[in-house]
C-alpha cells in the first residue's frame, strides 16, 4: 500500500463496503417499514407480526424456488426467486387476509377498539406465524440465491479502472435497489392517484368522515393487506437473497423496522423510508472498521493500529434502538411529523 494520501481508493473502499450495502439494506428496511406504516395508518396499530410475516413470505419464495429448480424451470442468470415472487405474494396475501378475518376483524368491529388490544393480538399472530414458519421450513439459516452472483465483480472493476480497491455490485443488491424504487413509486402512485388509494388516505385521516362519504371500510382494509403482503414478501425475499434467510433473523428485523417507522414519524410513508435509510446507514457506518479507509487518507505516521470500529457488529441491533431512544427524547414526532400524541382510545 502506498504511503501517500489516496482519496479515490478511499472512496472506492467506502462505496464497496458502506454505501452500496447500506443503500440495499436501507431499501429492504424501507419496504418493511412502509408495510408497518400502511397497517398503522389504516388499521391503527403497530403490527408486531411484521418480521415474522416477512419470514412467512420468504418461506413461500424458498419453497417455490426449490420446486422450480427441481422442475428445471429456470432462466439462466436470473435468480429463480424473482420469478416466483408474484405467486408468493398471493400466498402471503391469503395468509394475512385470513389472519385479519380470524383475528383483527373482531376487534375492529367493537364499539371502541383499543389500540393496545390489536398490539397484543398481533403478538399472538407473530408467534403463530413464527411457529408455522419454523415448523414448515425449519429454524436453520439457508440461502436460496441462484443465477449470476454479480452485476460486476471486484476483479472486473479493478481491471476496468486500474484502481487498487474494487467495487462490486451483487445481483441481489442491484435487484433490491431497482425493485424497491419501482415498488415505492407504485405505492405512492397508488395512494395519491387511484380512487382506492384516495379512499385509503381518507379512511386513515378521518374514519367517520370517510364512512359518511360512502367508502367501504372492508374494501379499504383488504386493499391495505394486499399492499402489505406485496411489500412484506418482496422485502423478505430481497433481504433473503442478499443476506440469507433465517427465521430468528427475520424476527429480529422487527426492531430496526419499528425504529425506522418511529424515527421517520409514525404514520408517514415518506418518513418511514427516510427513517429506514437513517437506520441502515447508522448501522453500517458505526459497525464498519475504518482502518483501511484511514490508511488511504492519513499520512504514514498517523496510520491506526486498531480496527477503528466504533461499535462491535454484535451490537448492530442496539444501534437502531439507541437511535429510537434519542429520537423519542429529543423529537418524539420523528423527522416527518407523525402521530405521536397520547391516544386516549
Amino acid at each position: 500500500m502506498s504511503d501517500s494520501i489516496d482519496i479515490i481508493n478511499a472512496f472506492a473502499l467506502m462505496t464497496n463496503f458502506v454505501i452500496i450495502p447500506a443503500i440495499s439494506y436501507g431499501s429492504q428496511l424501507a419496504l418493511g417499514a412502509l408495510a408497518v406504516t400502511l397497517v398503522y395508518s389504516v388499521l391503527r396499530f403497530s403490527n408486531f407480526a411484521q418480521g415474522d410475516s416477512m419470514a412467512f413470505g420468504t418461506m413461500i419464495v424458498i419453497l417455490l424456488t426449490g420446486f422450480m429448480i427441481n422442475q428445471g424451470w429456470i432462466i439462466s442468470g436470473i435468480p429463480t426467486a424473482l420469478l416466483v415472487i408474484p405467486i408468493a405474494i398471493i400466498g402471503t396475501a391469503i395468509y394475512l387476509l385470513s389472519m385479519d378475518r380470524l383475528v383483527y376483524k373482531f376487534y375492529r368491529t367493537r364499539v371502541k377498539p383499543k389500540t393496545i388490544t390489536f398490539c397484543i393480538a398481533s403478538i399472538g399472530v407473530m408467534f403463530v406465524t413464527g411457529g408455522l414458519v419454523r415448523f414448515i421450513i425449519g429454524p436453520r439459516p439457508q440461502t436460496f440465491a441462484d443465477g449470476e452472483r454479480f452485476i460486476f465483480s471486484v476483479r472486473e472493476f479493478k481491471a476496468f479502472t486500474g484502481l487498487e480497491q474494487g467495487i462490486a455490485l451483487k445481483t441481489s443488491q442491484f435487484l433490491t435497489i431497482t425493485i424497491a424504487i419501482l415498488l415505492v413509486a407504485f405505492v405512492f402512485y397508488f395512494l395519491q392517484k387511484t380512487k382506492t388509494g384516495k379512499a385509503m388516505r381518507a379512511y386513515s385521516d378521518n374514519e367517520e368522515l370517510a364512512l359518511l362519504s360512502g367508502i367501504n371500510p372492508d374494501k379499504v382494509v383488504q386493499v391495505t393487506w394486499l399492499l402489505v403482503a406485496a411489500l412484506t414478501t418482496i422485502a423478505g425475499a430481497l433481504y433473503g437473497l442478499d443476506k440469507g434467510f433465517s427465521p430468528q433473523q427475520y424476527h429480529l428485523l422487527l426492531l430496526p423496522i419499528f425504529a425506522s417507522v418511529i424515527v421517520g414519524g409514525i404514520g408517514s410513508p415518506l418518513g418511514a423510508i427516510a427513517g429506514a435509510f437513517l437506520i441502515s446507514f447508522s448501522e453500517v457506518l458505526l459497525t464498519y472498521a475504518y482502518k483501511k479507509f484511514l490508511i488511504y487518507l492519513l499520512p504514514l505516521s498517523m496510520h491506526p493500529n486498531s480496527l477503528v470500529q466504533l461499535i462491535g457488529t454484535e451490537y448492530k441491533y442496539a444501534i437502531s434502538f439507541v437511535i429510537l431512544v434519542i429520537v423519542l427524547l429529543i423529537r418524539p414526532t420523528g423527522i416527518f411529523k407523525g402521530k405521536v400524541l397520547h391516544d386516549y382510545g
Binding site: F45, S46, F48, L102, V103, F106, T115, I116, T117, C119, I120, A121, I123, G124, V125, M126, F127, V128, G130, G131, L132, R134, F135, I136, G138, P139, L252, L254, L255, F258, A259, I262, I266, L310, G312, E314, Y315, Y317, A318, S320, F321, L324, V325, L328, L329, P332, K339, V340, L341, H342, D343, Y344
Partner: protein, 457 residues
C-alpha cells in the same frame, strides 16, 4: 344446569385451583413426586413473574413486551451478588474496569448536563463521541485483561460473595432501575411506544449478557451458583434425614427381609433428598408469592389502588381530577418490572446455573403474557392459576405433540419420511399452540378464567 353454572360463577377461584391441584396430584401418583414438584416450582416462579406483569397490565394497562430482559437482569444479579469474587481477575482488571465505567458515566452525565443547559447540539455530540471513544479504549483494555484470567473456568470478575437471598432483592432493584429509565422515556407518549421500547431493551440486555464475557462469562454460562437450601449429598449423609426417611417408610421397610432393608433405605434416602430439596424451594417460593399477593391486594384495595384503576379506566377523567398519570404509570411500571426481576433471580437460583441462551422471548415474554390473559387480567389470583395452567400445558405439550404424531403415524406406512419430518419439527407447533390459546381467550373470554373483581365500582 343453571344451578351448576351458578356454583361455578361464585366459586371460580376455589374450583379452578382444586382442579389444578387434582391434576398435579394425578401426575404425582402416576409418575413421580420429584417431577411434580419440579413443575410446581416453575409454576410458582412463573406465577410471580405473571403477577408483576399483571400489575402493569391489569392495574394500569401498560403493555410490557420486555419481560425476558427484566428476568435476565434478575439472573445476572444472582451471579454478580452470590458468586465468590475471582481475586486474580479483580486484581488484574478491577480498577481498570472501574475507571472505564466511571468515564462512561461521566460522559453520559456531561451530555445530559450540556443538553439541559441548552448548549449547541453539535458540541454535545462531539463531547459525547470523544467521551465514548476514550471510554471504549480503556474498556476494551480492561475486558481483555479480565477475560484472560483462567478463561476455561473463570475469565470474569465473579460476584460479591454475599448470600444468594440478598441477590433476589438486588435483582428486583436492577430491573426496577432499567424499567425506570425506559418508562421515563416512553411513558406519556403513545401506548405502543412502551411496547416497542421494552421489546428493544430486552433484546439489547440479552446481547450485552451474551457478549460481555467479563461480566457473567457470556455464552460460556455460570454453573454451580450457591443455593439457599441444603445440597442433596449433604442430606443423604446426615443422620437426622436418614432417620426421618426410615421413619416415614418404616411400614414398607418392615415387610422386606433384613438383608434388603439397608439397600432399599439408601434408595429411599436418595429419592427423598431430591424431593426434600424441591420442597424447600417450594416453601420459599410460596412464601414470597403469598407475601407479594397479599401486598398487591392490599394496595389495590387502598385509596392508591382506586386511583390506579380510575386512571386505567378513564385517563381523561382521572387527569381532569388532577391525577398525575405519567408519574402513576411510571411507578406501576417500575414496581411490576421489579417483581419480574425478583422472579428472574429466583429462577436462576433454582436452576443453579445462569445460561444466557435459555432466554427466549417465547419462553419468557410470550408465555407470561398468555398466563396473564388466560388467568384474567387485573386479578392477582388469576395470574397464579394462569401460570399453573399454562406452564403445565407448556411442559406437557411436548410429549402430547410426539404422541399426536405417533397416532397419526399409525395411519401411514412404516418409516414414512413425513413422520420423521413431523417428529423433528413438532415442537415448533408449541408456538402455534400457545399463540392460538392467547388469541382464542382474548376473543371468546377476554376476562379470563378469574375475572377482575369489582370492576364496576
Amino acid at each position: 344446569m343453571d344451578n351448576q353454572n351458578n356454583i361455578w360463577q361464585t366459586n371460580r377461584t376455589i374450583i379452578s385451583f382444586s382442579i389444578m391441584a387434582l391434576v398435579l396430584l394425578l401426575v404425582g401418583f402416576n409418575q413421580s413426586w420429584a417431577l411434580v414438584l419440579g413443575i410446581v416450582n416453575l409454576c410458582l416462579i412463573s406465577a410471580i413473574m405473571a403477577l408483576g406483569v399483571n400489575i402493569q397490565w391489569g392495574y394500569a394497562g401498560l403493555f410490557n413486551v420486555g419481560i425476558m430482559g427484566f428476568a435476565a437482569l434478575g439472573g445476572v444479579s444472582v451471579v454478580l451478588v452470590s458468586q465468590q469474587p475471582v481475586v486474580e481477575a479483580v486484581e488484574a482488571g478491577g480498577l481498570k474496569i472501574l475507571l472505564a465505567l466511571t468515564l462512561g458515566v461521566i460522559t453520559v452525565a456531561t451530555g445530559v448536563f450540556l443538553h439541559k443547559r441548552r448548549f449547541n447540539k453539535w458540541l454535545i455530540i462531539l463531547v459525547v463521541l470523544i467521551g465514548y471513544l476514550v471510554t471504549r479504549y480503556y474498556f476494551s483494555d480492561a475486558t481483555k485483561v479480565i477475560e484472560k484470567v483462567n478463561p476455561a473456568l473463570e475469565g470474569y470478575l465473579g460476584g460479591l460473595g454475599i448470600h444468594v437471598m440478598f441477590s433476589w432483592i438486588v435483582g428486583g432493584l436492577v430491573a426496577a432501575g432499567a424499567a425506570w429509565s425506559i418508562g421515563k422515556i416512553t411513558l406519556g407518549l403513545r401506548a405502543d411506544y412502551l411496547a416497542i421500547a421494552t421489546l428493544g431493551i430486552s433484546e439489547i440486555i440479552l446481547y450485552i449478557v451474551k457478549n460481555e464475557d467479563w461480566l457473567v462469562r457470556g455464552v460460556k454460562n455460570v454453573a454451580g451458583l450457591s443455593r439457599p437450601v441444603p445440597y442433596e449429598v449433604n442430606l443423604q449423609n446426615s443422620d437426622w434425614f436418614q432417620n426421618m426417611v426410615s421413619w416415614i417408610y418404616s411400614s414398607s421397610l418392615e415387610l422386606l427381609p433384613l438383608a434388603d432393608q439397608a439397600n432399599q433405605l439408601s434408595q429411599y434416602v436418595r429419592e427423598s433428598s431430591v424431593v426434600f430439596v424441591k420442597l424447600c424451594y417450594s416453601g420459599l417460593f410460596i412464601t414470597i408469592l403469598v407475601a407479594m399477593i397479599l401486598l398487591a391486594n392490599l394496595a389495590l384495595d387502598s385509596p392508591w389502588g382506586r386511583k390506579v384503576r380510575a386512571i386505567r379506566d378513564n385517563e381523561v377523567a382521572a387527569s381532569a381530577m388532577g391525577k398525575n398519570i405519567k408519574r402513576q404509570h411510571l411507578q406501576i411500571f417500575v414496581i411490576g418490572s421489579a417483581i419480574v426481576g425478583v422472579a428472574g433471580a429466583l429462577l436462576v437460583t433454582y436452576n443453579g446455573t445462569f445460561v444466557p441462551t435459555s432466554y427466549q422471548p417465547l419462553r419468557f415474554t410470550f408465555l407470561i403474557w398468555v398466563m396473564v390473559i388466560v388467568g384474567g387480567s387485573g386479578n392477582n389470583l388469576g395470574s397464579v392459576i394462569g401460570a399453573f395452567i399454562i406452564w403445565f400445558l407448556w411442559i406437557q405439550s411436548g410429549p402430547m405433540g410426539i404422541w399426536a404424531v405417533e397416532v397419526i403415524s399409525n395411519f401411514m406406512q412404516e418409516g414414512s419420511s413425513t413422520v420423521e419430518f413431523m417428529k423433528s419439527r413438532v415442537h415448533f407447533l408449541k408456538l402455534v399452540f400457545m399463540g392460538s390459546i392467547l388469541l382464542l381467550v382474548m376473543r371468546f373470554s377476554p376476562a379470563g378464567i378469574l375475572p377482575e373483581k369489582n370492576k364496576q365500582m
